[in-house]
Symmetry: C2
Subunit: 211 residues, 2 copies
């Protein structure tokens, strides 16, 4: 029997490094599954359907919600975002961990869902707001107005930091990634995530009995 | 404000490597405090009062229990063992973690005490009973009868493995120690163990407000 995969939720304001950390994690452990969200927003340049997001028309998205196929969903800036439930449950059964690059609303809903006890949640904070602003600007593809809106959203996002199991201040990416790997490695060592242990201890007891 | 120190409880059957791991941990991080238990049993060769144990006469031990000065205590093989509470609380306030090399009875009592939420508990299992037996014998100072009694106690101890947060099978000491350090490092990154974060986020909000 495989261990049950865990659900690693990474949240942070835009620009704090969450997406980069997620990519590093996926490259480090190829057994991990990235949870691709569904959204009603239009693809940005370079985004592909099924990779960054499942891009869905509004009626299709609403039909999925109505059918109970979304683990969580929320509206942000007039667009819907949500996590299809099926792939998450499949990965868990296979003993694969799933990484979620989602905001506090999504995190809150998954924590409160029936899969809540399998959640490990991490909030990534920027070292300063000046640095957050700098990182958003160097992406270079957004207008001042878009950046201002995103900074307001960041402030809202940061206000939920205390709902997470772990908090990482991302001063240095390499260092933050080390701490992220440490958390994941430790969480996998939790007793309730090692189902083979029961068999192992049964074996020890058989040895005792045979003495 | 310092973070509140955590209580790291290590339990295992005698010979599974718990005491060695504890010593390695103390050598690795000099800020950690080893919880010295009090006991009514006689010192073994090489043991010093206040280092391995506080050796106390039975009436003195019972007076400490009566005065509420023991965080936990239990009787094993006709002797009392217990953890003096004062030093643990002082360490916590100083932000120092305390390591407990205690059995399941002590672990259970500390988990159920008022300090329970600060506990991180780890159970160390031997790779096999044959190996456990071998390790007990190579200590070379105990009779067959003492070893038999200790093996019975080991079986009892192992039956409580499922009460612990984490379980480590100690096949290779270096590897097990790495996993132990990983668990401790991750647990220190938990949000509720980083009290300075509140101030840090307050700083971020001040930055937002000043924009």
């Amino acid at each position: 029997m495989n261990r049950r995969g865990l659900l690693l939720i990474l949240s942070s304001p835009s620009g704090a490094g969450k997406s980069t950390l997620t990519k590093m994690l996926m490259a480090w452990d190829s057994t991990m599954r990235f949870s691709v969200s569904a959204t009603t927003r239009s693809p940005r340049p370079g985004e592909a359907d099924g990779r960054e997001y499942y891009f869905r028309a509004r009626p299709d998205f609403e039909a999925m919600v109505a059918a109970g196929e979304m683990l969580e969903h929320a509206e942000v800036f007039g667009n819907f975002y949500g996590t299809p439930k099926g792939p998450v449950e499949s990965a868990m059964k296979e003993g694969r961990d799933t990484v979620f690059d989602i905001d506090w609303q999504g995190g809150q809903q998954i924590r409160n869902s029936s899969l809540g006890r399998d959640v490990v949640s991490i909030f990534v904070l920027p070292p300063s707001i000046a640095e957050l602003d700098r990182r958003l600007r160097t992406r270079g593809q957004d207008s001042d107005e878009v950046i201002a809106t995103r900074m307001a959203k960041s402030r809202d996002e940061i206000s939920h930091w205390a709902e997470y199991d772990y908090v990482l201040v991302n001063e240095d990416l390499t260092d933050t990634f080390e701490r992220l790997k440490t958390i994941l490695t430790a969480e996998r060592l939790r007793r309730d995530r090692q189902p083979r242990l029961s068999d192992f201890v049964r074996g020890l007891n058989t040895e005792f009995a045979a003495r």
